[in-house]
Amino acid sequence: MSQVSLTIDGIEVQAAPGTSVLEAAKKAGIKIPTLCYLEEINEIGACRICLVEVQGARTLQASCVTPVAPGMVVRTNTPAVRHARKLNLELIMSNHPQECLTCPRSTNCELQQLASELGITEIRFSGANPSYEPDLSSASLVRDPRKCILCRRCVSVCEKVQQVSAIAPQERGFNTIVAPAFLEPLGDTACVNCGQCALVCPTAAIHEKDQTAEVWAALSDPRKHVVVQTAPAVRVSIGEMFGLEPGSVVTGQMVAALRKLGFDKVFDTDFTADLTIMEEGSELLQRIQNGGRLPLITSCSPGWIKFIEHFYPRLLPHLSTCKSPQQMFGALAKTYYAEKSGIDPADIFVVSIMPCTAKKFEAGRQGMNGSGYQDVDVVLTTRELGRMLKEAGIDFNSLTEEEYDHPLGISTGAGVIFGSTGGVMEAALRTAYELVTGRTLPTLDFKEVRGLAGIKEASVDLNGTVLNVAVANGLANAREMMDRVKNGKRYHFIEIMCCPGGCIGGGGQPIPTNKEIRTKRAAGIYSADESMPLRKSHENPAVQALYKEFLGEPLGHKSHELLHTRYTARGKY
């Protein structure tokens, strides 16, 4: 279709039909301030900050929802526009607690930022504020409706990107509150704890449950042997907390920083990612050989697990029985590692650094105590770790790189790529190919399963057996995959990650997280993979030793006890 020609601030602008004035202005280098707007996800014109003058219109128009029209004349910087934007922001702020100094989002708050940009110097309106109490019912997330500015980004993400719809506007007018239906506590709903809502919240109205205090307490307790594991995706994002470019691979600095914080051992979840490939790969081959339930679906992502339990309980037999790498780590830390290092598992305190809020919930799931203790004691998100490092005064960017501790810190490139969508699949294919064919892979890269597309499919020839695989990320795409499976589409193996882009886009990652940033973090993941000397899970010497010394064989008795789990069908409501 031909382009639409319009004038913005005297500049002739061309835009595709259907483009918003906001987007057209952006292309022309004109910045219009926004607040509720979230590209392609939340375009509802609710905050009325992105107002512009459109010649001939009776009122100011919200540029995020005003489509371009031929000959349109737009002005983005007039006294009326500036005044209305400021007034609306002042109104929003009059209904927001002035607690910036003590707010977890201070200095990383879009409302604060906007107030500074628009030059708000006083709030002339005082009056009532709705007095809703914070909702602390979820294991992963805290909702603080007092800080909510009702932009509804969280609602849109939950509804459109994740198709969970756990939260929506309730009540009306000034009393409007974003909450689960009937104001039920979030912990009692089908919320999957993915934290995408927290990621897009412009303020601190939804944020991760902060557990840094528990970790500080453990670190200062001389009786505790505190070990930490870091998830694959954290090494490409934690740098953002210290001003580094998204996707910067800072594994060595992160290890050094964790040691400085006082962890007794710094281990890597990548180790158990490699282990997952051994267990899950064996499970896949066994199901194929024995006519078991196919497709096999991955089980690393706790948001995804809760989703299928709520929305597709009849497909639960398809799930791999493997625990996630985080939980495998916890179980081994308090058994294998305890034995090997001669430490009483009762004294071992396992901390996880995860890009994920759902991992907090996962650590407390039933059956996550195969070691005889709670396998993982505390889960921190990337953001919480960043805050601890700042609090400790650690100058992250100037740290010298350090290595992980042995043996639970030894890993391969296959473990690293778990952090991006398609990574588990690629890691599994690298191993399955070689185990089944007995040949060395000509090239390690399975490019069809890489990239941020929502659904990817591929077919791989394993010695004459064609393996049909699929990869989905984001729960809307997971839903689409499950519907395909229900409708009889035949796959052997499906990887599903709850969050868009996989764990690099997890709900515990630094804010902002958007498409551009996810792309950069994914690139970081694959460059980390390439730089590893070993890139196939079955070649991980520490994993090999683990089987030899402790587990026996994949899917063996001990594996079953420590590394596998079961699932619960849950209702939708």
């Binding site: 509802i44 014109g45 609710a46 905050c47 009325r48 107002l51 009122t59 100011l60 919200a62 929802v65 005003t66 489509p67 009326a80 005044h83 209305a84 007034l87 609306n88 109104l91 929003i92 009059s94 209904n95 002339r124 309106f125 009056g127 009532a128 500015i149 009702l150 929506a168 506007p169 009540e171 009306r172 007018g173 000034f174 009393n175 409007t176």
Partner: protein
């Protein structure tokens, strides 16, 4: 067909139902049967006749005699005297305010005489539950005409040429709306009736639905033919249970008679209608919110464009008109565009139904040609202000409108003249206030309403109306500050220019218009801490006139705050520091000695 010599029309509009017309009606029936007249006299339950404050009311035809304020015990006399002897029962006739005589013929009453009833042509005349009575009054003839003699385009052209504009508030030309929808791409289109009438004091649409539901069904089917839609929805408030019942009855009857459904009149045209009952949100009267609500979504407006004509119900092109607009369609089709366009003013054609409420003698429903002056409506038809009080202002357009003071009473009412005065036509509510009404308090009332009914989606309406209300609350409670008026004006302008939907954009109108015409009242509240109308309790000072106080002590006994002291038989005094301004002393005093200023 049975023939009757007399018809007794008993108004069964919601107003008369609440004044117990049902008992009057059954007393009439009972006595008619007792006297053996049941084959000669037919009692018909009709929709609203209009003069609600006179209820229960009845009319007896063919004589055209109008009786008001009836009690069940009046039935015997009406039957014995009027229906048997043919003698009018004078004591039950209406005597208009200021008139010496009681009037028998309804056509001689100013209230009826000055009206031109198009939308209300059947309301109060036919039994709304009888499709036969509707048909007898030319009902469904217009539908027959369009299906058999007109092309869809001719129908649209007729509506366009008639000059009919939407009666729901904004006054958009109806024919253009139909044309946009007809031209929009798509095979599936919808026709929607907005019956979510929610302005305080407005009941035009309810009366039509209760009194003449088939006129809406017929009109929607005509539109369905014009835009090639086969499905219609009527979105009606749950607070109108009688209207919902009568609509359902009418839809079922129309289906039974082949006036809705498949192959109407054997022409191959299919059209059916369903009702959807709202859940009590004012904002659902806004068209995009209404459509969302029909779809089962939260009732909230969305930005336009796209307009419903392009993307309406379930994303399909949709015509949405309000009840009164629909009720005008069949007469326009039958009598022609020229006939309709000959009524009214240059840019506002036809008639408008108004609901008169507040401080006016004849509260109720009236339909007058566009261009009738406010004075005629309020004083000639409405009978003026009760209790010898002085007219102060009339609020039109409900909470989205504004007030008009006395100096503009001779303004001919149409869309454009009202807009010029800073108010709007709206859906037709007219609330008349007298000198005892505080205009700041009136603005506060409407702000309370819109604030309460804001959907909460956009920030300026959600928070701005709350902050405006808070300022008005402090002004009326004596805590107004310098700069409050300017702050109100700034907020008003901001909300008007930046709210998402029409309701938000018009929410500040009552404040702006009272500021425009009654700014001195705001100033008196803020600067002098006085309410000129004496309506704001917090600003009143109670004191005892020592000249007339007899020292009886009743007031001090009554005072809950112990603010009144004085020796027996000597003038008492009120301690203003203790007085809580409850007014109970004033009520108790037998000598009128307690005065408020």
């Amino acid at each position: 067909m049975e023939m009757y010599r007399s018809h007794v029309l008993v108004c069964a509009g919601a107003g008369c139902i609440s004044s117990d017309c049902k008992s009057v009606q059954s007393a009439l029936r009972e006595h008619i049967e007792k006297t053996g007249l049941e084959n000669e006299v037919k009692v018909v339950e009709t929709g609203c006749m209009g003069p609600c404050d006179l209820g229960p009311v009845i009319m007896i035809f063919p004589d055209g005699v109008f009786y008001r304020k009836l009690k069940p015990e009046d039935a015997v006399e009406i039957v014995n005297e009027h229906l048997i002897k043919g003698k009018v029962v004078t004591r039950l006739l209406h005597r208009p305010v200021g008139s010496e005589e009681r009037v028998a013929d309804f056509g001689q009453l100013e209230f009826f005489k000055r009206q031109t009833r198009i939308a209300l042509r059947n309301t109060g005349i036919i039994n709304p539950e009888s499709v036969e009575e509707y048909i007898a009054r030319d009902g469904y003839r217009a539908l027959g005409k369009v299906l058999s003699q007109m092309t869809p385009q001719q129908v649209i052209d007729t509506v366009k040429e008639s000059g009919l504009r939407g009666r729901g508030g904004a006054g958009f030309p109806t024919g253009m709306k139909w044309e946009f929808t007809a031209r929009a791409n798509g095979d599936t289109k919808y026709v929607v009736c907005n019956a979510d009438e929610g302005d305080p004091g407005a009941f035009m649409d309810r009366s039509i639905l209760e009194g003449d539901p088939h006129s809406v069904l017929e009109a929607m089917a005509i539109c369905g033919y014009a835009i090639r839609a086969s499905r219609g929805y009527i979105y009606v408030r749950a607070e109108y249970p009688l209207a919902v019942d009568r609509l359902e009855t009418a839809i079922n009857k129309a289906r039974e008679y082949g006036l809705l459904g498949e192959n109407i009149f054997g022409t191959g045209f299919n059209f059916d209608i369903e009702t959807r009952v709202g859940a009590g949100a004012f904002v659902c009267g806004e068209e995009t919110a209404l459509l969302a609500s029909i779809e089962g979504q939260r009732g909230e407006p969305r930005p336009k464009p796209p307009f419903p004509a392009q993307e309406g119900l379930w994303g399909k092109p949709t015509v949405i008109n309000n009840v009164e607009t629909w009720a005008n369609i069949p007469p326009i089709i039958l009598n022609g565009a020229g006939w309709f366009a000959s009524i009214g003013t240059e840019k506002s054609k036809g008639t408008k139904v108004f609901a008169l409420a507040g401080k006016v003698n004849n509260t109720g429903l009236v339909e007058v040609p566009m261009g009738t002056t406010l004075r005629e409506i309020i004083f000639d038809i409405g009978g003026g202000i009760p209790g010898g009080k002085k007219f102060k202002a009339v609020q039109t357009g409900g909470p989205s409108g504004g007030c008009i003071p006395e100096e503009y009473l001779d303004t001919p009412v149409d869309y454009d003249s009202l807009t010029k005065l800073g108010t709007i036509m709206g859906s037709g509510g007219m609330i008349i206030v007298d000198e005892d009404t505080c205009m700041v308090d009136l603005a506060k009332f409407f702000l309370e309403f819109v604030q309460e009914e804001s959907c909460g989606k956009c920030a300026p309406c959600r928070i701005g109306t709350k902050r405006m209300l808070e300022i008005l609350q402090r002004i009326t409670s004596g805590d107004g500050r310098q700069g409050d008026i300017e702050l109100l004006e700034e907020l008003s302008r901001g909300i008007k220019s930046s709210a998402l939907c029409g309701l938000g954009q018009t929410a500040p109108n009552p404040v702006l218009s009272t500021l425009r015409y009654f700014r001195h009242e705001y100033e008196a509240h803020i600067n002098d801490k006085k309410c000129p109308a004496g309506a704001c309790q917090a600003l009143l000072t109670y004191y005892i006139n020592p000249e007339t106080c007899r020292g009886c002590g009743l007031c001090s006994k009554e005072c809950p705050a112990g603010a009144i002291t004085g020796e027996k038989k000597k003038p008492h005094v009120i301690d203003p520091a203790k007085c809580i301004k409850c007014g109970s002393c004033k009520q108790k005093c037998k000598f009128g000695s307690i005065i408020t200023v």
